[in-house]
C-alpha cells in the first residue's frame, strides 16, 4: 500500500500522513459500533432492550453520546497538576494509537512492518500505564490515585504471562513481525497456531493443548491489561467512584473512553494475529486478497471484542488479592510450563 501511495503521490510527506491516519479512520467508526454493541449485548444478556428511541433500535445513540461529550464543560480541578492533567488523556491515547502502527490489517496494509513488531507493541502499550498513573496522580483525588496505582500494578503483573504467551508464538514462528506471523499461518484454518500451526500431524497434536492454554492465558491477561471487567478494579465504580478518570470530563474523558475501546481492539487484534491467523482467510486462497484480508482481520478482531464484552457481562469483578493470585500463582506458572513444553516440541 505504501508503494501504491508513493507511486500515486510521489515520495512526499502525504504518503506518511495518509498511512498514519488510516487507523484513525478505522478507530472512530469502530468505537461507535463497539459502544453500541456493548450496550446492546449487555442489555440482551440481562433480558433488556437497551437503546430503542434514537433511530432504528437506538442506532444513533453512540452519536448522541459523542455529541454530549463534545458539549460538556471541560473542568479542571483547581488543586490538580494542570500540565500532567491536560497531558494524560493524550498520552494514553498515543500509547494506544502507537500500537496500531504495527497491526497488519491486511497483507498489503500495515503501518510499519517492523521486524520487532510484537516487542514494539509490548513496549508502547506500557506508555498507557504512564498515562493512567499521570491521570490519577495529577487529579489530586485519592480515588483517582488508588485507581491509577491499581491499574499500574495490574498491567505490570499481567504483562508477564502475556509476554510468555507471545514468546511461545515467537518460538514457533521464528519472527516478531506481525505480518510474518500472519503469513506463517495462512493457507487454511488448520494452519492457525491455535490448532498447532503448519506442522506435520504429530507435532500439531502435541502443540494443540499447549497453544490452547496459551491462548486462554493471553486472553485473560489481555483483558486485564485493558482494564475490562472482571479485571476493572482500577475503575471499580463501587469502591473508587470511577478510578483514574474520575475528575475528567468532556473531551478528555472521551479520549480515555476512546482509548479504552481502541485498546480493546488492539489486544483482540493481537490475539487474532498470534493464534487465529491474523489477516489470513480460513479457507486458504479462497476469499483472500488485500480487501478480503482486511475483512478477515477486522471480523476476527471484532469477534474477540464481542467475546470480551460477553465475558464482561458474565463475570463479576475480582478482588485485588484475587487479581494478583490469578496473575502470579495461576497464569505465570502455567505460562512458564507451557513455554517450556512448546520450546521442547519445537526443537524436537
Amino acid at each position: 500500500m505504501e508503494q501504491f501511495l508513493t507511486s500515486l503521490l510521489g515520495d512526499t510527506i502525504w504518503v506518511h500522513i495518509i498511512m498514519g491516519a488510516l487507523p484513525l479512520v478505522f478507530i472512530l467508526p469502530y468505537a461507535l459500533v463497539t459502544i453500541y454493541l456493548e450496550m446492546k449485548i449487555a442489555a440482551h444478556m440481562q433480558d433488556r432492550l437497551a437503546y430503542m428511541r434514537t433511530g432504528w433500535h437506538g442506532t444513533l445513540q453512540p452519536f448522541a453520546d459523542i455529541l454530549k461529550l463534545l458539549q460538556k464543560e471541560d473542568t479542571i480541578p483547581t488543586a490538580a497538576d494542570k500540565i500532567l492533567f491536560l497531558l494524560s488523556p493524550y498520552i494514553v491515547f498515543t500509547g494506544t494509537y502507537a500500537a496500531f502502527a504495527v497491526l497488519p490489517f491486511s497483507k498489503a496494509y500495515i503501518g510499519s512492518d517492523l521486524n520487532i513488531g510484537v516487542f514494539y507493541i509490548v513496549a508502547v502499550s506500557s506508555l498507557v500505564v504512564v498515562g493512567l498513573l499521570m491521570a490519577g496522580w495529577a487529579s489530586n483525588n485519592k480515588w483517582s490515585l488508588f485507581g491509577a496505582l491499581r491499574s499500574a500494578a495490574q498491567i505490570v503483573s499481567y504483562e508477564i504471562p502475556s509476554a510468555f504467551a507471545i514468546l511461545a508464538v515467537i518460538m514457533i514462528t521464528g519472527t516478531m513481525s506481525l505480518n510474518s506471523i500472519s503469513d506463517f499461518q495462512s493457507s487454511g484454518i488448520q494452519n492457525w497456531l491455535i490448532f498447532g500451526g503448519p506442522f506435520p500431524m504429530g507435532k500439531k497434536l502435541l502443540l494443540f493443548p499447549f497453544m490452547l492454554i496459551m491462548f486462554v492465558i493471553y486472553y485473560v491477561a489481555s483483558m486485564a491489561e485493558v482494564n475490562r471487567t472482571p479485571f476493572d478494579i482500577p475503575e471499580a465504580e463501587s469502591e473508587l467512584v470511577q478510578g483514574y478518570n474520575t475528575e475528567f470530563s468532556g473531551m478528555k474523558f472521551a479520549m480515555f473512553y476512546l482509548s479504552e475501546y481502541a485498546n480493546l481492539f488492539v489486544v483482540s487484534a493481537i490475539v487474532t494475529v498470534l493464534f487465529f491467523g491474523g489477516w489470513a482467510s480460513p479457507f486458504g486462497t479462497f476469499m483472500s486478497g488485500p480487501g478480503w484480508d482486511a475483512f478477515w482481520f477486522i471480523t476476527k478482531g471484532m469477534f474477540f471484542v464481542c467475546v470480551n464484552i460477553w465475558l464482561r457481562w458474565t463475570l463479576p469483578r475480582l478482588r485485588v488479592d484475587q487479581l494478583m493470585y490469578v496473575s502470579w500463582k495461576v497464569l505465570t506458572p502455567f505460562a512458564l510450563f507451557c513455554v517450556l513444553a512448546i520450546g521442547l516440541i519445537v526443537v524436537w
Partner: protein, 241 residues
C-alpha cells in the same frame, strides 16, 4: 485436601464456572427481553387496580360518605339543600337526589389510592379508573373539581336555599311560639288538677324520659313534647307497657 490438589482443583473450578457463566449469559442473549417500551406499549393493569378517581356527578347525592371515609381528607364536598319544587332527579340506583353539590374537589396529589372512599358510596358513583398518567407541572392542577354546577346555578340554588331556610326558620319560630302558648295553657290546666295527680305522677318523669329520646331529632318537636311529661298519667301510662 492436599495443597497441590486444592490448587489444581481451584484452577479447574475457576475455568469451569466461568464457562458455565458464559453459557448462561449466552442463552439469555437470545431470550426475548422482558422490558416493554413504556409510553407506546403498556402493561395490562390487573382487575381492580387503583388509580385515578372518577366521580360520576349525575349519580352523586352529596352524602359526604366518601369524604368521611378518606384517611387523608382529600375530598372536599359542599352541599346546598334543594327546595321541594326543584326536581334534581334520581340516581341510576333509584335514589332521589335532595342536595345540590356545588363543590366536589379531590386533591389527587394527597390521595394515597387506598380506595376507602369507594365502598361507602351509596350510589356507587365514585370509583377508581385505570388512568395513571396524570403528572402535572403545577401541583394545583392536581386538585380535580368534579362539580358540574355553573356559578350562576350555584348562586340561584344558594338564594333559594336561603329563602327556604328563612321560611323554615319563620315556621319554626311560629311553631315555637305556638308551642310556648300551648305550654302556657297546659301549665295552667294541670295546676288546677295537681292535687289529685301528684301521687301517681311522681315516678313518671324518670320512666318516661327514655321514651322521649326517640322522636327527639325531629326538629321543633322536643319543645312541643316536653310538657307531656307533666300530662295527666292516664296518657303516659299505657304507652310504656
Amino acid at each position: 485436601m492436599n495443597p497441590v490438589k486444592e490448587y489444581f482443583n481451584g484452577v479447574y473450578l475457576g475455568v469451569k464456572t466461568a464457562l458455565i457463566g458464559m453459557r448462561v449469559t449466552f442463552s439469555h442473549l437470545f431470550t426475548p427481553a422482558v422490558t416493554i417500551q413504556y409510553p407506546t406499549q403498556k402493561m395490562k393493569l390487573p382487575e381492580r387496580a387503583r388509580n385515578r378517581l372518577y366521580v360520576n356527578m349525575d349519580d352523586c347525592i352529596g352524602c359526604d360518605q366518601c369524604s368521611m371515609a378518606c384517611p387523608v381528607d382529600c375530598i372536599t364536598i359542599e352541599t346546598i339543600k334543594s327546595t321541594p319544587e326543584d326536581n334534581l332527579g334520581v340516581t341510576s340506583t333509584g335514589q332521589k337526589k335532595r342536595l345540590h353539590v356545588p363543590v366536589f374537589d379531590i386533591d389527587i396529589a394527597k390521595c394515597c389510592y387506598c380506595g376507602l372512599c369507594v365502598p361507602p358510596c351509596p350510589t356507587e358513583c365514585i370509583k377508581m379508573t385505570d388512568v395513571y398518567e396524570f403528572a402535572e407541572f403545577d401541583r394545583h392542577n392536581l386538585i380535580y373539581s368534579f362539580a358540574t354546577m355553573t356559578p350562576a346555578e350555584i348562586e340561584t340554588a344558594r338564594v333559594k336555599a336561603k329563602k327556604m331556610e328563612e321560611e323554615a326558620a319563620a315556621k319554626k319560630a311560629a311553631a315555637a311560639k305556638a308551642a310556648a302558648e300551648a305550654k302556657l295553657k297546659m301549665a295552667q290546666a294541670p295546676a288546677a288538677q295537681s292535687a289529685t295527680t301528684s301521687p301517681v305522677a311522681a315516678p313518671q318523669p324518670q320512666q318516661s324520659a327514655p321514651v322521649q329520646v326517640g322522636p327527639l331529632p325531629v326538629s321543633a318537636q322536643p319543645k312541643a313534647d316536653q310538657p307531656t311529661a307533666e300530662n295527666p298519667p292516664a296518657d303516659a301510662g299505657p304507652k310504656q307497657e
